[in-house]
């Protein structure tokens, strides 16, 4: 009798252990390319809405310090997947065979922009001649900036650029110490909030309107993960795309999800930030090629800018080697 009871208990335990094993989520250690903000909201939305959990994926979100930081951390195994500018990955791949590959594009337009004050008489790039801009010391925009000027018939040093800490740029702009700043356009809402305190309005000159074309923010995966568990990469991207579409339809929900996971965030500013970044995601290019695609011509153009900026020969890298289209969601 006792033996039978014991046996049934053991059986029950065994079954529940098996069931738990079957349900055990596969884990992805995700690296954002910068501090939490609205433009990073998609991954938080996916987690908060339980989309990843439903697909059996457990996501741990970590904060990288720039795209190249994400690339090196994925390369050394400190993370599995993450977001970052495609240019940074191309630059890393051209220098060393970093075992990281881009698996999906997010921005089909480059996010770099110049912020100036409205009414300052600066209406286009040419008006910046002789002016002073502040830029973040380690921003990837800095290497491309002289090329954008050249592409628009200006001398590469026509504009004076001051390299400062990212946190100092807003105050310098607000106090008029500089005529403008070089930023990702996604920083606009936080900038506008600050500028309004100083009674200023921000005017944006997006570089994409001055011929700087290419893929910006993309999703990277470590080659180790791609080799060991390709099905997980595919499953993850399908869920990510679902979360992305959800966020585009309802930025406020994305902002709220971010706020729920990072309580220090201002949900309204986060929603506005995502809305601005949605303008780089949901573009005519994405309409044409499909969300997340890497179209060969635009991929090549992305590389051409990097090669020029890094003073590398065009054949130092085949841009096709940087991406894989095997995991793109249908």
């Amino acid at each position: 009798m006792k033996v039978r009871a014991l046996r049934s208990i053991l059986f029950a335990l065994g079954v529940s252990a098996l069931a738990a094993g079957a349900q055990a989520a596969e884990k992805i250690r995700w690296l954002n390319d910068w501090l939490p903000a609205g433009d990073k909201a998609v991954i938080y939305l996916g987690v908060q809405e339980g989309l990843f959990e439903d697909a059996g994926i457990e996501v741990e979100i970590m904060t990288g310090r720039g795209s190249s930081d994400v690339v090196s951390k994925l390369g050394t195994g400190a993370g599995d997947m993450g977001s970052g500018g495609l240019s940074a990955l191309m630059q890393a791949k051209a220098g060393a065979r970093v075992p990281v590959t881009a698996v999906m594009s997010i921005y089909t337009k480059q996010p770099d922009a110049v912020f100036v004050a409205e009414g300052s008489g600066i209406e286009n790039l040419k008006d910046l001649t002789g002016k002073t801009l502040a830029t973040a010391t380690f921003s990837a925009s800095n290497v491309t900036w002289p090329l954008v000027l050249e592409a628009n018939g200006m001398a590469p040093d026509a504009v004076k650029v001051l390299k400062v800490d990212p946190g100092a740029m807003g105050p310098m702009f607000a106090t008029g110490r500089v005529d403008g700043t070089i930023n990702w356009i996604t920083k606009l809402p936080a900038f506008e909030a600050l500028a309004s305190e100083a009674g200023k309005k921000v005017k944006v000159l997006p570089w994409s309107e001055y011929g700087f074309n290419g893929y910006g923010l993309s999703i990277f995966a470590s080659d180790r993960l791609i080799k060991d568990n390709p099905a997980l990469v595919k499953k993850f991207l399908a869920v990510y795309k679902q979360a992305l579409q959800m966020a585009i339809e309802d930025p406020a929900r994305a902002g709220a999800a971010l706020k729920a996971m990072v309580p220090d965030i201002d949900a309204d500013i986060a929603a506005e930030e995502f809305e601005v970044s949605a303008g780089l995601i949901d573009t005519e290019i994405a309409d044409k090629d499909g969300l997340g695609a890497f179209e060969p011509a635009l991929l090549k153009e992305t590389w051409t800018w990097v090669a020029k900026a890094q003073d590398l020969p065009e054949d130092a890298l085949d841009p096709e080697d940087v991406v894989t289209r095997d995991f793109l969601p249908e």
Binding site: L35, I61, M62, R65, T76, G77, P166, A168, G170, D264
Partner: protein, 277 residues
Amino acid sequence: MTSPTTSAPRSSAPAPWPERHRRLYGALDRGAPLLAALALLLIWELACRLLAVPSYLLPTPSAIALSAVQVPLDSWLTHTWATLRVSLQGYALAVLIGIPLAVALANSRLLSRTLYPQLVIIQSTPIVAVAPIIVVVLGAGDAPRVVITFLITFFPIVVSTVTGLQATPPAMLELSRSLGASRLRAVRDIQLPFAVPYIFSALRISVTLAIIGAVVAEFVAAENGLGFFIAFSTSFFKVPQAFAALVVLVSLSLALFQLVSLTQRLVFPWSLPKTEK
């Protein structure tokens, strides 16, 4: 008729003026540091208001206090604990490695000749510059932050302890040797007690360095912590909030400093200079 009103109070007044003066002076003297701090805050507040300094340049103390209150308590606790945890782990590691290492260095000419230069090289390396590399090598989690904190804190402990150990009068060591005391006993009973004042002055300096180390590490890689919170706040140009975090950091640093001093007073009262006993 009989009105003693003019004379009575004078005769019954218990405290003559000079005594009251002295008491007031004593109170003022005790409260002087606090008053000076309050005066500074007042000048800061007034200067910012009168000169209309915008809050994103230099926030007023009141704006800092307000933003501190607006941050949920949970957030403060999470960030403060994260920084404290890393600081204390790095500090503990520095003490556990630093003091035995110092004993070894002070007692072995070979080790002193081979290891000391390397320690100086580590100390001369700007840890801020190598921090990103440490993070890449050690991966996610507390480990890289603890190591960065350790690297920033352990050198003063080693140097100061070695100096203390070497300050032992040679005559005493010779005496203990002639009485047949073992090397270990000489270290434990003679050298280390002599080094206690030196060790504690290093421990006091290092505990504040531990906070700095943790913040440096959080600037490079972290999901929370006061250093992360400052970087995060300035990324949204919330300067008063960043200042509030700074105030918490300074308080944390002061508290740890006092804690080390208190430990010395309680455990090794004989090691204090006469004036502090």
